[in-house]
Amino acid sequence: MVKARKNGPGLRPASWLSFLLLLALALLTVFPLYWMFVLATHTRETIFTAPPPFMFGTALERNYEGLLATLPFWRNVWNSVYVASLATITTLFFCSLAGFGFALYEFRGRNVLFGFLIASLTFPQLLNIIPYYLIIDFLGWLDTPRALWFPGMASAFGIFLMRQYIASTISRDLVDAARMDGATEFRIYWSVALPLVRPALATLALLTFIGQWNNFLGPLVILRSRETYTLPLALRSLQGLINTDWGVVILGTALAVVPLLILFFFASRQVIEGLTAGAVKG
């Protein structure tokens, strides 16, 4: 008789070895991030020595002062927070609204429009970079945060995600029952559907926030002055200086990564499970 195992196909004796290998790989994967934090506490002199320093140094305060002296750093942090938050809030609203519309209504042209939406997903983002710049320039929005979060408010990917989730979670009967009570469509969306799709909203929120926080090419093309720079741009401007104070630069990178790390620490399950669900359903 084959013993029923809890986990899938089952590989018995090798499991401890596998676990060790996986652990080693995990440590190797995380190493560059650990390295980032170590180097952030060193100065250029100690960073560029052989063998390199693996333990934390003492230059944290000095690097921090250098960072503030070279960049309007907290302003840049605020810019990143502002753009990412606004992008997330607007994306959540518009994508869930459109996903609601696609999922629970039968209207003329629905399939065509949805097909169009899917087709737009296949367009590589790079194709749009020159036109994006030109239209932003035309609108006079160059060097403004608005140019970063406004165009992507209703993202095709977000709508797709929401639509899939809503379609599989909310039944038409529920909607009809609400209609019978005299609710307007928007009211149904807001009070009935939204609360029920919180997990998908959370996933979309996280993915959008992370994506906007790390966005580099968009800001590179649109933003021109240090005061409006988001974090990735601010960090890159540090890289270009010939007298690069590497301790300062790395501290900047570490500080730029910390918020997302914290976010991920609390929400990793949500992100991964949301992605998983999306991948399977999609």
Partner: protein
Amino acid sequence: MLKPARVILATLLLALGAAFAQTNISIALYPDLDSHLNAVLEQFHAENPDIIVEVRILEHGDHHTALVTNLATGSGAADVVAIDVGFIARFVADGGLVDLNSEPYNAGQYQDIFAEYAWLQASTTDGRLVAMPTDLGPGVMYYRRDRFEQVDANVEDVIADWDSFLEFGRAVTRDTDGDGQIDVYLIADAGDVARAMFRANIAPGDGVFFGADGTPLVTNERFVEAFRVAKAIRDDGLDARIGAWSNEWYEAFKRGTVAVQLSGAWLLGHLQNWMAPETAGLWGASNLPNGIYGSWGGSFYGIPEQSANKDAAWRLIEFLTTNPDIQLAAFDRIGAFPAVTSTYGAPLFDEELAFLDGQQARLLFSEVANNIEGRATHPGDNVAEEIVNSALSQVLDEGRDIEEALAEAQQLIARRTR
């Protein structure tokens, strides 16, 4: 009204009036120009109390990219913009900057006090001046005295021509401590020699990369010879193959791994301030080998057409560029070699520089500055430079045939600048 009230009211009105009379201008710079500006800003404000200056800094590459797009879109540029010599030609051609020869600036009145070639660099063929020169980069060779002594070499002999330079290279490149690895090299990058060579001995009327008629000329003898010498250096293993401004490069200066470095005079400031201060006294400066005179770097200040405060902007530029004291202050503080040649007689120039073992190197710099010949600029200059550098890299690193690489570069440049 009661008397005190009248006084207060009058003061308020005066203050308001003063506020209205004040002009706010902005200046966009890249490092290290800002350290100098911040130091002299007080004096400027004392002489021009109605002008308030806001300083904007961006890193060198970002600064020029932003400037290019600001001029392209017609908005966002500061009132005064610093422009590096590598980009000046482009702005000469593309436009977007005010012609400073026109009324009411009449920059032409100052023409004689500036180094001629720098003035020409910022001038168009139809007589417009798009920016004022502020500093130059006279090309010199910095060398390690101790490395020369160790092989009994005399600097004057070494720089007589390229052959003696290479001969010296072969002598000095060696393993000094017996560990099987070469510890001293002639130079950090053979490419530097090529770049020095093709920027010199330019036929009158031609530019570095383009002829008087605007066609690229990178396949001519000047380039072939430059590439050939560099290749000889590389093939003999005389260069350390270290990229400029990398950490290994800084280390090389600290340890004396390279015997010479061809560069603009401004390198001295970097060396003594942060790159290798502990090597003070071990260096010397000389002319470039083979009697060539070249320029490495230089900055200009211009006023974008879109500026709403051109007059105030011009006052700032005049202050920074035509005032000999301010020019000398920049020289002293950030090593920016003055574009105003009349300053070259100042006592500052006779100073014995400790870093160079007491050499009165500034006299050398001014001699070089006076001997650099003006040459035509072309808007495609920095694109051409990128392409030629790429070709050079292919020849040195991948052993590509020189004529072939230059022919391809010629083609690329012609296309790119159509």
